[in-house]
Symmetry: C2
Subunit: 181 residues, 2 copies
């Protein structure tokens, strides 16, 4: 079942640094890109991503000022690589990779049904000098019924590492998160 | 043995999104902060980190315009949490957490001997509007003799996930990395 998340928890989807999809809608068609260069910049939540005109999706981000961050799990690793190694310029990636677009509430870019989590985002700033786009999350969803929840992290050399064992340090870190989420 | 890395590979230390230490030297003393809000912005390498005046280290970053990104592994998880939950304002963190400062070649901020990798960095820009600091890596080191190489990823709620199994998709991704590293 897909549940809407408390927006104050959405940063926890990006803070661990998983490889993600960014979906866009350019007014005519949907597209998807794979991206690893992401960062939380505020608990609101706000996120930074590095992208520019070398990505086909960049024109949509600039024009429509909307996107969805969709978070894949390890069972989708070959789609992550596939989406990242072809271009929306000549490929319908939803069709090619058999992803199901789902209409969001606040943005025209689609959620990806097959992903464990999705964050609807507005583009709030573009820092051209550094090719950084600042996004504000406006709604977030988590598929609680999905069994596979392990995300993957790109190393950058064609290898990936999947989430392993979890460690709980909530007690030691109470001062850091108790007021936030 | 600590080996100097090809700088063109240093982005692969940050792209997977591990929690890291940032060391600074303010002209009088060394300090360390724990940070998860990092991003690669260029293969050069350039990195973005989110920080501001709420972090004691920020004054040093602004004044000295230098730092070291030191990458801890899972055996150091309690030091990661410890460093992140006290302040350099009243604590000598190298002493408290028994870390060994090592002199770098290009910056006055110290490397941390106990970390698996260290990247000497110059501050090349500060985007005050978003509390983003842009760093350029000028030298990087990897401790090849260290047995434990698994890094950790902060979720943001006091829990962490350690690196698990690795996946090799180098062949599928050759076009993406072969010219870079």
């Amino acid at each position: 079942m897909v549940e809407e998340m408390n927006l104050r928890r959405a940063f926890t989807l990006i803070e661990p640094g998983p490889v993600v999809f960014i979906t866009t809608y350019d007014g005519e068609k949907d597209n998807i890109m794979t991206i690893s260069w992401t960062m939380v910049v505020d608990f609101v939540p706000k996120f930074a991503i590095t992208t520019g005109s070398w990505n086909y999706s960049y024109a949509s981000l600039r024009k429509q000022r909307e996107c969805v961050i969709a978070i894949p799990t390890v069972d989708l690793i070959d789609q992550v690589v596939g989406v990242g190694t072809c271009s929306g310029d000549d490929t319908d990636k939803f069709e090619k990779f058999r992803f199901t677009p789902v209409k969001g509430k606040h943005v025209s870019a689609p959620l990806i049904k097959e992903c464990v989590a999705n964050i609807e985002c507005k583009v709030v700033d573009i820092i051209k000098k550094h090719d950084i786009v600042i996004l504000e999350g406006v709604a977030a969803y988590f598929d609680t019924s999905r069994k596979e929840k392990r995300t993957i992290h790109a190393i950058g050399d064609g290898t990936f590492v999947v989430d392993g064992r979890k460690f709980d340090r909530k007690k030691m870190m109470r001062t850091k998160w108790a007021d936030i989420i």
